[in-house]
Every structure is written in structure tokens, then in C-alpha cells.
């Protein structure tokens, strides 16, 4: 399991990600309202909620793919602000897995995996390639290192996507609906890798509708609606005894079939 292990530095009890009073507008549309959330080291947070509730926007603010207008976001002690240097520092420490996977289509799997470490962290190429081989082996893709993304199935691509996010040994991994664009029979192979990453002690913030995953892995399940955090509770509590009516309605729609 060491291959998937995050960089283990003495961190203390400081949260890795802290959002306080975060507000965001798209023009006049209020996308995030007063978001407060702390994510501690090795903690797994699953964010769910109806479409348009702001969950993707929320995690995209953490690595500055979106800009928040009010409040503060602190990632591992660094304030997310306009400073390009700081943003690049944060992005080095925060890996991201996308719904649309977004592997670089003109590069082989190996090139996709090594470009981050080589260009950003200045890791020697040979060392990055060795690490890439180790990780690919862990996710069962050892034979696909020199293929192009277009030659892989969706599930395989997304497993490469997760490995790519792990390559720079991030402190936090963000997952933005990693299985939503996949065919049903490919979802499990991706979830298995995510569970394995979680078990290795990675700090994870996961936007997903996979309630089974939330039940199994999450330390905290967050329910969002209309840009607000409506409810946040450990999974047992969240699924067995939801407090809010909207949460109940959502759960009945997601879990019933």
C-alpha cells in the first residue's frame, strides 16, 4: 500500500483544507453561500446534492479553477488568492480527478503521468517513470503505459486519471464526479481504486452520487442544496437519520432504486 501513500509530514491537527464564509457569484447568480468546512488530515469527505447545488463549484474553488469572491479558503496553510505563485504551489499539493477525465489526448499514458512531476516538481524523468510504473501496476494498468488515452476504455482512462492526480504526491485529492461519465460496468473498477487510495490514508474530497462509496469510505457526508451546506454528518447518521427534509427527499430519490 505504500505506493498510494500520501506524503507523510508531521502535520499536527491543522486542517488541510479550511473554508470559512465562502461566497461565490456567477454574475448575479449566488452559487455558493456561506460555506464553512474543515477537512483534516487523512479525512474523507463526500459531497452530494442535486445537480446545480454548487458541489462542483465548491471543490473547484479549492484549487482555484473557480474564483470565490468572499470568505477565505486555506489549503495546507496557504491562502487561495490571486497570487499566481501561491496558486501554483497549492495546485502542486492538490490533485484533481475530473468527471470528463481530461487525459491529454495527444500524449501517451506515460507522458500524461510524468508531465506533472517533471515540469512542476522537477522530478528526474526516470524517477517519475519508475513511480508511474509502480502506480499503474497498483491499479492494474501495467500493460497500458505506452498507449494513447483513446485506446483505453472509460474505466481504464479514469484509473489513469486517478494515478495522474497521485503522481505529484498530493496532500489532498479532489474528485469531481469521477464515475458520472462512465458506463455502469466500469464504475466499480474506478471505485475500487478510490477505496484503495482512501485506505492508504489520502485526504479526499469527493463529489459523487455513489452512496455506497460514501457509506463505505466517508468520514463525513455533506449535503448541499442551492449553494448551501444543508447537512453534514458521519455516514451512519447521515443515511439512517437525516435531519433535513431536503436531505430525506434527495436520499429517497438517490437510494430508492
Amino acid at each position: 500500500m505504500t505506493a498510494l501513500h500520501p506524503s507523510s509530514e508531521p502535520g499536527g491537527d491543522e486542517p488541510v483544507v479550511r473554508l470559512s464564509g465562502v461566497n461565490k457569484w456567477y454574475d448575479s447568480y449566488h452559487a455558493l453561500r456561506d460555506i464553512n468546512m474543515d477537512v483534516g488530515r487523512a479525512e474523507r469527505v463526500v459531497i452530494c446534492g442535486p445537480s446545480g447545488s454548487g458541489k462542483s463549484t465548491l471543490i473547484r474553488c479549492i484549487n482555484r479553477l473557480e474564483q470565490h469572491q468572499e470568505g477565505s479558503i486555506v489549503v495546507d496553510g496557504i491562502d487561495v488568492c490571486d497570487d499566481v505563485k501561491k496558486i501554483e504551489q497549492i495546485r502542486r499539493d492538490v490533485g484533481m480527478v475530473f468527471q470528463s477525465i481530461n487525459l491529454f489526448s495527444h500524449m501517451t499514458v506515460m507522458e500524461n503521468l510524468t508531465i506533472g512531476p517533471v515540469c512542476v516538481n522537477k522530478t528526474p524523468r526516470a524517477q517519475a517513470e519508475t513511480y508511474a510504473h509502480t502506480l499503474l501496476d497498483r491499479v492494474g494498468l501495467a500493460d497500458h503505459a505506452y498507449k494513447y488515452p483513446g485506446q483505453l476504455s472509460g474505466g481504464q482512462q479514469q484509473r489513469v486519471g486517478i494515478v495522474r492526480a497521485l503522481m505529484s504526491r498530493p496532500k489532498v485529492l479532489l474528485f469531481d464526479e469521477p464515475t458520472s461519465a462512465l458506463d455502469p460496468e466500469m464504475i466499480n473498477e474506478v471505485l475500487r481504486v478510490m477505496v484503495e487510495v482512501a485506505e492508504a490514508g489520502m485526504t479526499m474530497i469527493v463529489v459523487t452520487h455513489e452512496m455506497g462509496f460514501a457509506r463505505k469510505v466517508a468520514d463525513l457526508v455533506v449535503f448541499m442544496d442551492a449553494g448551501r451546506i444543508i447537512e453534514a454528518a458521519p455516514p451512519e447518521e447521515f443515511f439512517e437519520n437525516p435531519q433535513n427534509d431536503r436531505t430525506k427527499l434527495f436520499l429517497s430519490q438517490v437510494v430508492s432504486h
Binding site: L65, I90, N102, F104, H106, V120
Partner: protein, 373 residues
């Protein structure tokens, strides 16, 4: 209750016997009969057009080949002939091809032409598409300048005012593309920049240039550029024209490149950003390779156009192939054989442009076929 129950809805699945593909023709003759001789009108029309075409082709053949004078010691022999006088090409080809470049030094022009054509062919090989190709082009341009300008390595100095013919046409085209393409990429990136001043500058350059005919851009360059120089320093017509050609090409190609940048999926930009790659790294490694691949056919088309646009520089008194041909035709002995000379120039241009367009076509097919990634 009506006991006629509604028919149970049921998907109808049936398998049809395999049928042959429709519309296979049974030969050229049947095709001709069906399309050209299917009624009286069409048959008459076909015969008349065929007759006129044959008549015209026969006359052309007579003029071009049968009655043509291929070799003549002087123009007098040509005057008696009824066909084309190809002797003018033999007489004037050095002037047409190399302009007024000193006769003894024209071997340098031959090397220059060979260098540029060789590099152009090498640039077509996809395996060579690395940054080294760009450096090789820069080296080629430097070598070409040495050869054409002289004054170094014991070469007799030959100023740009002596340049002409094919070397001038090829040099202008090559420099236009080699400097214009990076310029186009910078302009396209600048146009998408978030920095307002850079964006405004790039939009300004692109839109103003695109809003002017090339001739006007050439005149502006010839008249305006000298004004920006400190007094006492003069600038050659060649440099003025070259600057105009580069700017004109860059402005048009910038819009093509911008189209490519927009065609790259947003997720590719985001994934690169999320990785922490800097702006330059994102563009260099992720975005531009994909964007340029998309717009290659359109870019090649623009390169062909830039090649043909070099004929415009004769308006500034530079002697590209066409200009040099006009000079050759000023010889009163040969002036009446202009059609032959222009046909020669036409063939030259056609060979260059047609090869480029065929190449672009082939590349387009390769790139769309090999899209397994």
C-alpha cells in the same frame, strides 16, 4: 366489456435477406450513355462541346508543340514561326530565374533555391516536427542571407537591390512563414489574454491588418518604416516588403490559430491548470500541440497564399519571378513573346502551389484517419 382486446404491443424484429449494395455501375460506356447521350438534346450538346474542345486542343497543341520554335540563335528565327517561341526561355531564363543578380555569382542563387526547397520538403515530414525544425529554419535563413548578401567568406557583396527572381520569391515566402507563424501564435495567444493591454494590442494588430488589402500594407511599410529609423539610416525596399509580408501573414494565421485554440476542449486547459503547470508550460505542452494539429490544413492553405502573394512586391520595384520576367520582356527583340514567358512563370508557380496543395490534402487525410487518440 368488449372482448376484442387491443393487440398486444410487441416489438417487431425481423431479419431481411442480404441484398446487394445498390447503384453499382456496369462500366464506363453505360455511364456515358446514361449521362451524356440519354436524349437528343444531350447527345447534340455532347457532340458540339466535344468538337469545340477537340478543335481548341488541336490548336493549342499546334501552337505549344508542333509549330513551336524550341531553339533559335536570335529572335528573328522566331518571328517567322507560327507557333510558340520557347527560345525566349532559353535566352532569358537566367534573368527570369535570378533577376539582376550578378551573372558570375548566380551559383549562389542556385544553392539558395536548393536549400529552401530542401527545407520545405523536410518540413513536410511529420517525424521532423520538433522545435529543431524551427532552429534548422533559422539556420537556413542565416545561411541564405550570407549567400545572398555576400560580403562574408570572400563572397562579393550583393545588396538586396540586386536580388530577384526565384530566390527572392522563395526567400520572401520562407521568411514570411518562419517569422510569421510564431508571430501568429503569439498574436492568437495575446488575443485570448486576460491582460487588457496585451489583448487590445493584439486585437488591434490583427484587425487593422486584416482590414487592409496587402497592397496597402506594402505601401504603408515602404513609406512608414523609414520614418521610424534614425536619420541617416536607410532601409531597403526588400526589408520593408518583408516586414509587410510577415505582419500580413501573421495577422491572418493568428485567426486560424485562435480557431484551433478554441477547438481544444476546456477540460484539457483545466487538467493542465489543476496540475500546477505554468501558463507557458500549459500552452507549450498541452494546448498548442493539439490546437495546431487541428488547424494544419488551414495553415498550409495560408502558406500557399503567402507564396503567391509575393508577386505583389513587384509593385514596390522588387523583382520577384513575375517582376524579373517583365524586365526580361523589356528587350525589344523579344517583347512580342510575352505569352511564352508568362506561361513559363505560370508553370513555375503551378508546380510549387500544386505540390503544396496536394501535400496539404494528404496531410488532412492522414490526420483525420489516424485520430485514434
Amino acid at each position: 366489456m368488449n372482448d376484442r382486446s387491443p393487440p398486444r404491443s410487441r416489438a417487431l424484429v425481423s431479419t431481411l435477406p442480404e441484398s446487394p449494395a445498390p447503384g453499382s455501375s456496369d462500366g464506363v460506356l453505360a455511364g456515358l450513355r446514361a449521362n451524356l447521350f440519354n436524349n437528343v438534346h444531350n447527345s447534340v450538346l455532347t457532340v458540339v462541346i466535344l468538337a469545340v474542345s477537340l478543335y481548341a486542343a488541336w490548336h493549342a497543341l499546334q501552337w505549344v508543340v508542333i509549330d513551336a520554335v524550341w531553339y533559335a540563335p536570335d529572335a528573328k528565327a522566331c518571328k517567322l514561326a507560327t507557333g510558340a517561341c520557347w527560345a525566349i526561355i532559353g535566352e532569358k531564363y537566367r534573368l527570369i530565374l535570378f533577376g539582376t543578380f550578378p551573372y558570375q555569382e548566380q551559383w549562389r542563387c542556385v544553392i539558395v533555391v536548393a536549400l529552401i526547397i530542401g527545407m520545405a520538403i523536410a518540413s513536410g515530414v511529420r517525424r521532423f516536427w520538433t522545435r529543431w525544425l524551427f532552429y534548422a529554419w533559422l539556420a537556413t535563413v542565416a545561411l541564405v542571407l550570407c549567400l545572398m548578401l555576400g560580403g562574408v567568406f570572400g563572397l562579393k557583396p550583393t545588396g538586396t537591390y540586386l536580388w530577384g527572381g526565384l530566390p527572392l520569391t522563395l526567400i520572401m515566402s520562407a521568411v514570411t512563414v518562419v517569422l510569421g507563424l510564431p508571430g501568429a501564435i503569439l498574436l492568437a495567444l495575446g488575443r485570448r489574454s486576460r491582460l487588457p493591454i496585451i489583448k487590445a494590442l493584439c486585437v488591434g494588430v490583427i484587425e487593422i491588418t486584416r482590414g487592409l488589402p496587402l497592397l496597402v500594407v506594402l505601401f504603408i511599410a515602404a513609406v512608414m518604416l523609414p520614418l521610424f529609423l534614425p536619420p541617416g539610416l536607410s532601409i531597403s525596399k526588400f526589408v520593408c516588403a518583408q516586414v509587410a509580408m510577415v505582419v500580413f501573414f501573421a495577422a491572418y494565421a493568428a485567426e486560424i490559430v485562435r480557431g484551433g485554440l478554441q477547438a481544444v476542449h476546456r477540460g484539457q486547459y483545466e487538467a493542465a491548470e489543476a496540475m500546477g503547470l505554468s501558463y507557458a508550460q500549459r500552452m507549450h505542452h498541452i494546448v498548442l500541440p493539439q490546437a495546431l494539429r487541428i488547424v494544419i490544413p488551414a495553415l498550409v492553405n495560408d502558406i500557399v497564399r503567402a507564396f503567391k502573394n509575393t508577386t505583389f512586391v513587384s509593385i514596390l520595384g522588387l523583382f520577384d519571378i513575375l517582376g524579373a520576367t517583365n524586365v526580361a520582356l523589356q528587350d525589344p527583340l523579344w517583347v512580342q513573346f510575352a505569352p511564352e514567358a508568362y506561361l513559363f512563370v505560370f508553370v513555375l508557380y503551378f508546380v510549387f502551389c500544386f505540390s503544396m496543395s496536394r501535400y496539404s490534402h494528404k496531410l488532412e487525410q492522414e490526420l483525420s484517419k489516424g485520430r485514434n487518440y
